[in-house]
């Protein structure tokens, strides 16, 4: 078995992993390695040929591939080690990684710090409980995207989309452009799950109807999908009698949400947050296990890739500091807590002693609200206020807290959002 020793090992070569590796290298980690299971770097960005990526970071509307390209080039320039088609089978709290590929076989990689950047995966039909049979023609939006954008195949000719998250919306447009008839987008909730701009650019511009508070209740067809039954739902998301409608179609596209992919993290038994479905992290995105960092959608599902890259950079910086012994882990951490109307916050704890001048706090609100004020309090004392016209659950919010506002013996920082 091959044995390797590196300073920082990054698991996953998507936007989070790429940014983390580059930053770790820039901050002085000598030997950085990226372990990527796919045949190329970039992660899911490679199948995102639509534009709108990088508005925050580059001030440009890039395609997913274009956005990834910036980072991939940088990785090459900085001579960061990349192992493709390489899968990590096991990680230990001794920071040992067992990874394998066709060329090297099994590798035992010992590292100074480890960054978990495995991204997320899609929820499947069973997780949203759609009744009926199990024919072909029921695919997740990401799989459909891969078939159409990367492989050049059309998985159907008449589609129904379940879920109004961004991937669902973007696939509605993409399929229409490819000549697949999109009958409609169905959303079980009373408000759409995707970004406002995507609803406008992907549905309205193409006259694709969206049906809110309506869901797919049944799949028909034994071998090949023959159609679906949709129904309106009541406030408890139960189908309303008499509203059932059969739609003949040969493709059901499921865009029913993403789940952070934390199988490896769980192996390590890092502390997890039941709301984010990812590890609890600190101001450097370090998990509960010293030297093990997490970044991007593995921590929680972000809606913008810019945030994913940013968290990658924070983790990369943390990893470099960790191997240089610059992180003070003795000092107890302060809790960062979700306050009123806030669903979760990331990071969930901070050690001010290690923090830089300011700390970005990512959070999502529980419900749609207009004319809101975001407040951050330190032990009940307001330390930040900011007004926003609107706050929507699908859109991740971020506020930066100045370090000087958090006094040393404070116990907790709380982020709340109130109307008015």
């Amino acid at each position: 078995m091959k044995e390797l020793s590196v300073d920082v090992a990054v698991i996953g070569g998507g936007p989070a992993g790429l940014a983390a590796a580059i930053e770790a290298k820039d901050q002085g980690a000598d030997h950085v390695i990226i372990l990527e299971r796919d045949v190329e770097l970039g992660g899911i960005l490679q199948q995102c040929i639509h534009d709108g990526f990088g508005l925050h970071r580059f001030g440009k509307r890039l395609s997913g591939c274009g956005y990834a390209h910036h980072f991939i080039e940088s990785v090459a320039e900085k001579a960061i080690d990349v192992k493709l088609k390489t899968i990590v089978l096991e990680i230990t709290d001794q920071k040992i990684i067992y990874a394998m590929n066709e060329v090297d076989g099994m590798m035992k990689i010992t590292c100074g710090a480890m960054i978990l950047a495995m991204g997320c995966r899609e929820r499947t039909r069973s997780q949203v409980f759609i009744w009926g049979t199990r024919p072909s023609g029921v695919l997740t939006a990401g799989t459909v995207q891969r078939y159409i954008n990367m492989e050049g195949y059309l998985p159907g000719q008449k589609a129904v989309i379940l879920g109004s998250g961004d991937i669902g919306l973007i696939m509605a447009r993409r399929m229409t452009l490819e000549g697949i008839e999109v009958e409609g987008v169905y959303e079980v909730m009373e408000s759409p799950g995707g970004l406002t701009r995507n609803i406008s650019q992907c549905l309205k511009d193409f006259q694709i109807p969206m049906h809110l508070a309506t869901t797919v209740v049944r799949i028909h067809g034994n071998k090949k999908l023959e159609g679906v039954t949709v129904a309106q739902v009541d406030e408890n998301r139960q189908p309303i009698q008499g509203t059932q409608r059969f739609i003949p179609c040969d493709l059901l596209v499921l865009a029913v949400g993403l789940i952070p992919e934390n199988e490896l993290s769980r192996q390590l038994e890092v502390e997890m947050d039941s709301r984010t479905k990812g590890p609890i992290v600190d101001e450097h995105f370090m998990t509960s296990i010293p030297g093990v960092f997490a970044a991007g959608n593995v921590v929680t599902v972000f809606d913008l890739v810019d945030y994913v890259s940013l968290t990658g950079e924070i983790a990369g910086r943390g990893a470099a500091k960790f191997i240089q012994g610059k992180l003070n882990l003795q000092m107890p951490a302060k809790d960062v807590l979700p306050g009123d109307s806030v669903n979760f916050v990331v990071p969930q704890r901070i050690r001010t002693v290690n923090a830089e001048d300011s700390i970005p706090i990512y959070f999502r609100v529980k419900k749609e609200m207009r004319k809101v004020e975001v407040t951050a309090t330190v032990d009940g004392q307001v330390c930040m206020r900011k007004k926003h016209a609107i706050a929507l659950p699908p859109e991740m919010m971020v506020e930066t807290i100045q370090l000087e506002k958090i006094h040393e013996d404070a116990r907790e920082l709380r982020v709340s959002v109130k109307v008015g």
Partner: protein, 597 residues
């Protein structure tokens, strides 16, 4: 007898108002006709009549309001098949490549006969077998004196050797009946006394239990120790230590592969359209792929055994399809339960003619909840309903309330092939020479499969006389490597030998390209995405093929030298891709031309 049956029906509250026709043949076969309101009444009526003494079996032609089961007219297809002139001759045709058909085929391979197995699906194990929970029952619960009772006991014991020979995984964690009620515990203690003293032999209902080895009675403490995650405070438990666990499709594939290695021919995508009978003897079958002439026809067609019997002019039983839905829990709960466990004394189970269900475990470590038992009119309806999952959840939760519904990664249903006597029908046809029925095989069919196969070989011997041993029979089937079960050292060595084992295709279950290639190029080649899944587990994990689906499809297309658009999920028309987006596609009412740029 007819009057007695009429009386029984009329005295039944839910059936008394209907006009139900009853006729009884000289062989004590009862035929029922008429229309009722609900399908369940059709089934109830059949079961009611089955309990009348002397009834051999029931042909139930009753219908329920609004339910029309169309009869397929096969005459044109038969005509075409005969006219195309393709004809083969062999000694024995086995209809159906489920675990029963495959077990029979492998058993017959021990003798000097030529066998062809025909299967309408694109793979073996495609119907009831793949949707089975994999329990090799100990045989406690079968009714004494039935074929089920006899063959279950024997089959269970045969599995040990079979798993060694065929290299499939068999675990024997036993099965646990958890007892919470004092009255149940008293009954169980009485059972213990009967078993220990041998007194049970005097009680007809107990005779089966007397024959089952390895029964243990556990105290509350012992139960807790064995299964710490069980809910509440059980008074005790009844541990049937011989219960085994297998992956049912793995057993079926192993049997089929070994049969092929010993000279049996399998014809997939081959549907029987007619059974040929001349001068009171079967002389073969007509299939959609031509005629196969044979001296003996074995009817192991699962839910369609009654259809096949009818084709041969020997209609004496009716299969009433009974759906069983199962839910599979994420592997993160591996080791949570060690043995399949159920609560003793469930009322629902009795009503539904099942052994009960509960929480089971697969050899791979997934928890499994279910199955349900719902009578349905349609033999092909494998849909899962909300009510199924409610029931499944109740079963699972009755055993442990720590596992949540959200941990379910998938659910599916299979159809049990039950007849109204609720016993196996394994016999030579009394009307048609050379025809052997292996019908009504529902649970414990999987556990009984090897014993059923032996019994069928015996019937073949009676039919033909003088079955000669096959001196070249090799009972051993070598299993392919399973990467995930190896140590890192062994994995490394495997990759050094063949780099394809170093390429993970299915991330959730850690399945390598090497294993997928093995499946595609195996003795019974996997030609669909689901067939690859059954042989390797790719796509069985928590992402349910989201990541690996496109890759498996690509490998299948490459290896089978087909277009990706020709690859199916599960045979027939179950295509995954509609068109190559670089080709013009034809849409109803016009076409979209594409120009390459």
């Amino acid at each position: 007898m007819k009057n007695k049956i009429m009386k029984v029906i009329q005295e039944n509250k839910s059936l008394s108002g209907y006009k139900i026709g009853v006729s009884v043949s000289s062989e004590q076969i009862v035929t029922l006709t008429g229309q009722v309101d609900e399908w369940q009444q059709v089934v109830d009526c059949g079961h009611l009549v089955a309990r009348v003494k002397g009834v051999r079996n029931i042909v139930n032609d009753m219908t329920a309001k609004g339910i029309v089961i169309p009869k397929r007219d096969r005459s044109k297809e038969i005509q075409r098949a005969i006219e195309n002139g393709k004809e083969t001759t062999c000694d024995i045709v086995v209809i159906g490549a489920g675990v029963i058909g495959c077990a029979i085929a492998r058993e017959l391979a021990k003798y000097q006969v030529s066998t062809i197995v025909v299967e309408k699906n694109s793979d073996v194990a495609e119907e009831a077998t793949k949707a089975n929970n994999g329990n090799i029952h100990p045989g406690v619960l079968a009714k004494p004196g039935t074929l089920k009772a006899k063959l279950n006991l024997k089959g269970n014991q045969m599995y040990t050797q079979l798993s060694k020979d065929l290299n499939f995984e068999l675990q024997r964690p036993g099965s646990l009946n958890v007892i919470y009620k004092k009255s149940e515990w008293r009954k169980m203690k009485a059972l213990e006394v009967m078993k220990k003293t041998g007194l049970g032999h005097l009680v007809p209902q107990m005779r089966q239990v007397m024959k089952v080895p390895g029964l243990k009675w556990l105290t509350s403490q012992e139960v807790k120790q064995m299964e710490p995650h069980l809910k509440g405070n059980p008074i005790g438990g009844f541990w049937m230590t011989t219960m085994g666990l297998v992956e049912p499709y793995e057993v079926c594939i192993a049997l089929a592969e070994n049969a092929v290695e010993n000279g049996t021919e399998f014809r997939l995508n081959t549907e029987v359209l007619d059974v040929l009978v001349e001068n009171g003897r079967t002389v073969g079958v007509v299939t959609n792929q031509g005629v196969i002439r044979s001296e003996i026809v074995i009817n192991a067609a699962g839910v369609y055994t009654d259809t096949i019997a009818e084709m041969a002019g020997d209609r004496f039983f009716t299969i009433h399809p009974r759906r069983g839905a199962i839910a599979i829990i994420d592997k993160s709960r591996k080791g949570f339960l060690k043995t399949p466990a159920g609560i003793r004394g469930g009322k629902e189970a009795k009503k539904n003619n099942t052994k009960g269900g509960g929480a089971s475990v697969t050899p791979e470590g997934n928890l499994l909840w279910g199955p349900t038992a719902v009578e349905i009119p349609w033999k092909e309806d494998k849909s899962v309903e909300a009510s199924d999952l409610d029931y499944i959840t109740k079963l699972g939760m009755s055993v442990t309330n720590e596992v949540k519904r959200s941990e379910i990664i998938t659910f599916f249903a299979g159809i049990r092939a039950a007849d109204y006597m609720e016993d196996f029908i394994i016999e030579r046809s009394r009307k048609v020479g050379g025809l052997i029925h292996v019908a009504g095989i529902q649970s414990p069919g999987l556990a009984s499969a090897p014993a059923i196969a032996e019994m069928v070989a015996g019937l073949v011997n009676q039919e033909r006389g003088g079955l000669m041993d096959n001196p070249n029979f090799n009972p051993i089937r070598k299993a392919k490597p399973q990467f995930r079960h190896l140590s890192h050292q062994e994995q490394d060595q495997l990759i050094q030998k063949n780099a394809k084992y170093g390429n993970i295709i299915c991330r959730c279950e850690l399945i390598t390209e090497g294993e997928i290639l093995d499946a595609i190029h195996s003795t019974i080649p996997a030609t669909t995405v689901d067939a690859v899944k059954r042989r390797t587990r790719s796509g069985m994990g928590r992402c349910q093929g989201g990541f690996c689906g496109p890759r498996v499809l690509e490998i299948l297309a490459r290896e089978l030298e087909k277009e990706p658009t020709e690859i199916t999920l599960k045979g027939n028309e179950s295509y995954i891709l509609k068109a190559d987006s670089r080709q013009p596609i034809v849409v109803e009412g016009g076409s979209h031309e594409r120009i390459e740029c």
